[in-house]
């Protein structure tokens, strides 16, 4: 029956998966750039961020075309609405990955990052982003809910890193203090990426159930 419509929805689904994969790559590059002081990966993060921006515009246009051509209802409408919301969060994830990569370039050679829980934080929010995209791909309510629950862990890690950095600042010299502040910003960006992954997971749940943040929309 609705071949063209299903094809267009299929294209939307594929493009979202591709944009999600770009976000995962951008974060992975940013994390490795930070942990390994790698300029090539910093540059790769920036490239991915630009690809993510293009993907956002492409998907937004596709959604508008679908709304005009098909006047969607019910789960089709939820899929398109959720897509329009998810790409905003994905675009912000790309920006924040690029910010992390940029700030990491100011603290080359610094060892202070290994004195705080930054690796755990990076691992935690990377997993949240991957899982939120996977939840969308596999239409998995439980996985989306798990991402939302994991945001508490990301928030707790941010608080822990902040405390660790304050301790370091209290017994530190000038250059180390600057590194600490840079790291605090990086930790905040990671924490925000966790929030965006949570938003994506909430839109996945809306797409699957019609409930957004436990309310009927």
């Amino acid at each position: 029956m609705r071949k063209m419509y299903d094809n267009q929805l299929g294209v939307l689904h594929e493009r979202l998966i591709q944009m999600g994969a770009l976000c995962e790559t951008a974060i992975a590059c940013a994390v490795q750039a930070l942990l390994n002081d790698d300029d090539a990966l910093r540059s790769a993060t920036k490239d991915k961020e630009q690809e993510i921006d293009l993907a956002e515009r492409d998907i937004e246009q596709l959604c508008v075309r679908l709304l005009i051509h098909q006047q969607p209802m019910a789960s089709d409408l939820r899929q398109i609405t959720a897509a329009q919301k998810m790409i905003i969060d994905m675009e912000r994830i790309g920006d924040q990955a690029a910010d992390i990569a940029e700030i990491s370039s100011y603290m080359q050679g610094s060892t202070v990052k290994s004195d705080v829980h930054m690796t755990e934080m990076a691992r935690c929010v990377s997993k949240m982003v991957t899982d939120s995209i996977d939840a969308f791909v596999s239409k998995d309510f439980a996985q989306a809910q798990a991402v939302i629950d994991e945001d508490d862990i990301a928030d707790a890690l941010f608080s822990k890193i902040k405390t660790e950095l304050i301790d370091l600042l209290l017994r530190t010299n000038g250059k180390l203090a600057e590194d600490c502040l840079d790291l605090l910003m990086i930790a905040k960006y990671f924490e925000r990426i966790g929030d965006h992954a949570t938003n994506i997971a909430e839109w996945v749940i809306y797409y699957l159930t019609g409930n957004y943040k436990k309310q009927n929309v």
Partner: protein, 249 residues
Amino acid sequence: MNKISIQNLNLFYGSFQALKSLSMDFQENEITALIGPSGCGKSTLLKSLNRMNDLVSSCKITGQVLLDNEDIYGTMNVNLLRKRVGMVFQKPNPFPMSIYDNIAFGPRTYGIRAKMRLDDIVEKALTSAAIWDETRDRLKKSALSLSGGQQQRLCLARALAVAPEVLLMDEPTSALDPISTLKIEELLNALKRDYTIIIVTHNMQQAARISDKTAFFLIDEMIEYGSADQIFSLPKDKRTEDYITGRFG
């Protein structure tokens, strides 16, 4: 408050059952849309609400249709029923007479003869149907000289002229252009303050736009009935979802 209450309605055309064990209520001052594929019984249901099916000799009905708690298939006078429950059809069907006489036809049938009274009724009905400004200077002209959209509003005015309580509308905009459709939809939204409106439509966007409640029919039964917001955003039954998203129909 329920204006019409249907209880266990079964309707047969000969041996063919068009409606099966239907029970549902229509709320006063609301627009209820009936949707579903062709042949699912929604127009049959509409016609059973003012006994238009009486004109079909093979039609047999069991169950009750209560209008303000009175069974319309009991002792109620059919002419009085049709005065209380008016109908507008898919294609505009003005009588081949003047605009004025089209509107005055019903009131005259019910015994109103005084010209001043009829003038008042005609103006009010045409105003309510948002066509007074376009017709006030040509009331003696043939109704057939009007455009399709104007003719449909004229038919609506004709239905309103006898002061009904319920308006039944069978795909009233399917033969109209988008602007005329919009005018009718705006009109219905305004008219529901004073009338109970039940509309059959094949246009899902129209049902979503104008109805307070929507009922989905399939073959000979009602599958789902709920607020339009719920039906079009989160239908409970997969068959409803599949129909409104165009997976069949």
